[in-house]
Symmetry: C2
Subunit: 210 residues, 2 copies
DNA sequence: CCGTACGGAGAACAGTTGTTGACTGCATGG
DNA sequence: CCATGCAGTCAACAACTGTTCTCCGTACGG
């Protein structure tokens, strides 16, 4: 199929990456639906027409950005959430994961939180799909715990959704108020703890598992 | 100051409202940062230059939209969250409030959830401000419950934030999958129930109120 | 009842946008 | 080694953008 070095394809993916990087940087101050094709190519240092060699439209580039921002996150999620130990240990790991990721890839995080409810349908759907995968992975890990005995599949998923949404919300707060990261992560930890307590007592209620 | 009838001011606010309505409709398919001034005036049926008689820029109009979308919501929140009765009663009321509001003002809800993390700073800040007020109001109501005895102010706020975020997330899900409103509201109810359980057992932990 | 202030229309401006077609140079594969 | 394919450039296009300045009609306040 493709030769290993491929001087040709290497150059192509290089400028493709330049387009993605330029777009991501421009998106720090605006939404994808207002991002112009020429704007991106100008920032990437290539001619406007060359854009079409890589993407059909800016929407298309947006979908590729979703893959770049979220695709490589699955292994990290898995290893973090499947940590053994008490709840506090897991919470600390999760918070560290979020803070570290926001710190390492702020533009990616901003892009995802912004376009999750943004004005470009295909991008929204791509993000929603990836988050659905995350939710399923978290649910799988949660189901393996002893506390989840007797839980319905749907309830484990609703719990996982709670966690995933909380993590995204926390990431967004960390982005906006970078100077308050201590307070934000402390609140997030307490919210996770409270959810964990609710989880532990879920089946105490008469219709808890209904 | 202003005469009661004011044929002049009435006409002005009429076209001002036409601008807001037109913008809101156009925003169903795009983000605010890509909304053009001419686009809005065209949809509102007035000349582009007349726009400046009402707003200094599209950003400005966006901030006004935040006020329109969220400003009138405070009394509803207050009366809903201060319902007396057991937790289930309150949860049902809250879900009804959300579903009813999304059904009655879908464009407003879409605007808020989209621009909450959108690309226009002043609008983001206006939304954040309003949501902060909501959180404070919910916190006040929660603090009045017997279960909140011994809670720190900060913890009541973190609980309120959890509820507010959950309500917004639910509203957004209701918007996207209008056909699944039953499933979505059932999951949301269970999430609120779980949070309520965590709340009830919060002080069971040795360092719960720390 | 009249002068004025104000909401709105119109024309014009320099820029920018997405997309097209034809062209160039070079790595590739036979 | 040569012909092909493909990344990238350039020029041009009609359409659109935000903003300014000038003008018009009319409700308003004295």
């Amino acid at each position: 199929m493709s030769h290993l070095p491929g001087v040709r394809q290497a150059r192509k993916q290089k400028t493709r990456q330049a387009l993605l990087d330029a777009a991501l940087e421009l998106l720090e101050g605006q939404s994808l639906s207002s991002l112009g094709l020429r704007e991106v190519t100008r920032a990437a240092g290539i001619a406007p027409t060359a854009f079409y060699r890589h993407f059909r439209s800016v929407e298309d580039l947006g979908v590729a950005l979703v893959e770049e921002a979220l695709g490589s996150l699955h292994p990290m999620i898995r290893t973090t959430v499947s940590t053994i130990g008490d709840g506090e240990e897991r919470i600390a790991r999760a918070i560290d994961l979020i803070v570290g990721h926001v710190d390492a890839y702020p533009a990616h995080v901003r892009f995802v939180t912004r376009e999750r409810h943004g004005g470009v349908r295909p991008v929204r759907e791509a993000i929603h799909g990836q988050l659905g995968l995350f939710t399923a992975e978290v649910a799988e890990a949660l189901a393996a715990d002893a506390v989840s005995a007797g839980w319905s599949r749907e309830d484990v998923l609703m719990l996982a959704q709670l966690y995933v949404d909380l993590m995204l919300g926390t990431a967004s707060l960390l982005l906006e108020g970078a100077r308050e990261w201590e307070r934000v992560s402390r609140v997030a930890a307490r919210q996770m703890r409270l959810i964990g307590i609710g989880r532990a007592h879920w089946l105490d209620q008469p219709d808890g598992g209904g």
